[in-house]
């Protein structure tokens, strides 16, 4: 009776740990403890010595295993040494549909802990649609029943002992590598840190050799960091270098492994700055804004950039910086860093960039800030049937065109004249019944698009006031002015603007 009561698991004495089942149907890191327990029971029935969930959870907490359904080699080796398990079972529910038609998909992986090798895997699907038979005899309607059925089907082919079929190959495994920087200037220092896996027995007696270009570097073991450290000076040729390493230890396989790559770069980026705006005499003019477009002749990632604007005296007015991504264009609104508008004059815009190796490139362009409005005087003499007009332009920028309109009190245009050059003698025919209520409108625009527009009313024997303080109707910063003028004559009047 005693023999019959002995658990079957004692027969094989193969220890297995079932990690909590990941339930992908519940989203990221979903957990299904019910199927975990079912798998444990079924494995125990098959004769495995199953580690308790409490032990497994304690191990996961201690080693900060935060993901379910996957486990990397270092943790698998630790499971072997800490819990003395021969195998671990990783399981995940790919899909679980609880509403009809019910479906359950279970994926299992059996991993041998001595060499962290997947030795068996199986995916099992079950759906009540496929189970429906003619007389509904084998239909599964109960969720727990389907879960049990799927787990049972999945474990039906699990191997009991695989060591003879798949031999264990111990490997000196590189667990973690940190190679920095990834891009260097010639002759700069490159650092490498290598951590080996737990299978390497004594790391102080282990040799880690690093090969790069013509150099062979022996990494030194740092007991505080529990890692092998090495550093060397980068080569002088501009190209990408592959870094390989070998690990040599007693009874351990030594294999050359690519651990990283780095680029030697001594070439500064080829930068050209283009300033977009209206040009005059070869200089871009800023009225409201200018667009600054950086162009790299050989596009490459950059680490940081700096845009500065200096005035003619060399004072820095703007300083903008950024990292990683160079904006496709900048816009300068003719303002200092604090927001105040800069005065008219010549300004230097400079863009500096640094590539990932720290190579510096710069490009500079000059622009002219010019916001002054056109200045002109107009003198008119009204005669019985005509109006004589004289226009005098004083602007620094050439005149593009002017237009003069005569309107009656309702706003109807009675006469109009336009031109592109200043004129001292413009005769407009006037055939109106009443000429007392006429209004005159003058519009003038320079080559940059700066313009003035003025509605005039004839004044008689009156000193024309300076309009320094007058505001432009459109943008509110009308600054044009000419000194006071006095026009003699009963029907002659003049205005400066």
């Amino acid at each position: 009776m005693t023999i019959l009561a002995t658990p079957v698991s004692r027969c094989y004495a193969m220890t297995i740990a079932v990690l909590p089942v990941e339930d992908l149907s519940q989203g990221d890191n979903g957990l299904n403890l019910a199927i975990t327990r079912t798998l444990e029971e079924l494995l125990a029935d098959k004769g495995f010595n199953v580690s308790s969930q409490a032990e497994v959870i304690t191990f996961m907490v201690k080693n900060r295993v935060r993901r379910l359904g996957v486990l990397s080699s270092p943790y698998i080796y630790r499971l072997h040494t800490e819990l003395q398990v021969d195998y671990i079972l990783l399981a995940s529910i790919s899909q679980q549909r609880t509403a009809p038609p019910f479906a359950l998909n279970l994926n299992l992986q059996l991993i041998r802990t001595k060499d962290a090798r997947i030795i068996w895997a199986k995916t099992t699907e079950q759906s009540d649609v496929n189970r429906v038979s003619i007389l509904a005899l084998s239909t599964l309607r109960d969720k727990a029943e389907i879960e049990y059925q799927v787990a049972s089907d999945a474990l039906s082919t699990i191997p009991i002992n695989t060591e003879q079929e798949l031999p264990i190959i111990p490997q000196a495994r590189i667990e973690y590598v940190q190679l920095s920087p990834q891009i260097v200037k010639p002759g700069e220092k490159v650092n490498c840190q290598i951590k080996l896996g737990a299978t390497t027995t004594d790391q102080t007696e282990t040799t880690v050799s690093i090969f790069v270009g013509e150099q062979i570097i022996e990494a030194q073991y740092d007991s505080q960091a529990s890692a092998f450290m090495a550093s060397w000076l980068s080569e002088s040729n501009n190209k990408q270098y592959t870094v390989t390493a070998t690990v040599s230890a007693d009874n351990q396989e030594s294999r050359e492994v690519i651990i990283g790559k780095y680029q030697v770069d001594s070439q500064p980026p080829l930068l050209k700055l283009r300033v977009r705006g209206q040009e005059l005499n070869g200089l871009v003019i800023l009225q409201k804004k200018v667009r600054i477009i950086p162009a790299l002749q050989s596009p490459e990632p950059i680490s940081r950039w700096q845009l500065t604007v200096h005035n003619a005296e060399g004072r820095q007015l703007v300083n903008e910086t950024g990292s990683k991504t160079l904006p496709p264009q900048f816009t300068w609104w003719g303002q200092e860093q604090n927001g105040t508008q800069v005065k008219d004059g010549i300004y230097a815009i400079e863009l500096s960039i640094w590539d990932r190796a720290g190579n510096w490139a710069s490009s500079q362009e000059s622009i002219k800030v010019f916001r002054k409005k056109p200045e002109m005087t107009i003198a008119m003499k009204k005669q019985p049937h005509t109006l004589a007009v004289a226009l005098n332009y004083y602007g620094e920028i050439p005149l593009a065109y002017w237009r003069l309109q005569v309107r009656d009190k309702t706003g109807t245009i009675l006469a109009e004249r336009s031109g592109s050059e200043e004129s001292n003698k413009i005769i407009l025919p006037l055939k109106m019944a009443s000429q007392k209520s006429l209004k005159y409108r003058v519009y003038a625009q320079d080559m940059l698009g700066n313009y003035i527009q003025k509605d005039l009313t004839p004044k008689t024997n009156k000193k024309i006031k300076s309009n320094d303080e007058e505001k432009d109707e459109d943008d509110g910063n009308f600054l044009a002015s000419v000194g006071d003028k006095k026009i003699a004559g009963e029907e002659v009047w003049a205005e400066d603007f």
Partner: protein, 199 residues
């Protein structure tokens, strides 16, 4: 009477054959290299999920892994090791690694080839009283020494493609359909002698 009975019997059979014929799309293989590669250890890269189906990448990843392992020909790398390498090399799981990164991954995993892929379509639609899943998948195989693509296979299927009679045979979950799609892709690779491990 007899002729009418015969026609009633034959028509559904012809219809069934037509339906069955429509569903037999084969995976499309594109080779980029004709040189055979000794493949004994295989690394599987995280699949790029270009669909809205939550966890679709993990579902097909594990199905692919279990099918490769179950053929007992190859040694398959651990999913956890691949994820750790992605993290170490700062590769986002939804992006393709560069050839240089693929070389490092393959060398560190000691893999002869790397399999990666993209899920282009993955969804389940309710059609009548059954669920019809759709999957469109592209798997690519990369050379471990150069990081270049050796071949890639495109396959597209839906659950009703496996219909035998009435609703029987229909794949009614993406997992089940994914299982069949990957099985067909691996069968094609086997027929074309693409994955071979000769000790």
């Amino acid at each position: 009477m007899g002729r009418r009975f015969l026609s009633l019997l034959i028509l559904p059979i012809i219809g069934g054959l037509i339906l069955a014929g429509c569903g037999r799309q084969a995976p499309h293989l594109q080779r980029y290299s004709l040189n055979p590669i000794q493949t004994c250890r295989v690394g599987i890269l995280p699949l790029i999920n270009k669909t809205d189906y939550n966890q679709g990448d993990k579902i097909l990843y594990r199905i692919l892994l279990s099918q490769l392992v179950s053929q007992q020909t190859w040694d398959i790398t651990l999913e956890g090791d691949v994820i750790d390498l992605y993290r170490e090399l700062h590769i986002k799981p939804w992006t393709h690694p560069s050839p240089g990164q693929l070389q490092i991954i393959a060398s560190r995993l000691n893999a002869d080839i790397l399999i990666g892929g993209e899920i282009l379509q993955m969804r389940e639609t309710m059609e009548g009283n059954y669920i019809n899943p759709h999957i469109e998948l592209q798997l690519s195989v990369y050379n471990s020494t150069t990081g270049t693509r050796l071949w890639s296979t495109y396959h597209k299927k839906q659950g009703t493609d496996y219909r035998k009679v009435m609703h029987f045979g229909i794949n009614n979950s993406v997992s089940q359909l994914g299982h069949n799609i990957i099985k067909e892709i691996l069968l094609l690779w086997k027929e074309e002698a693409l994955l071979q491990c000769q000790d």
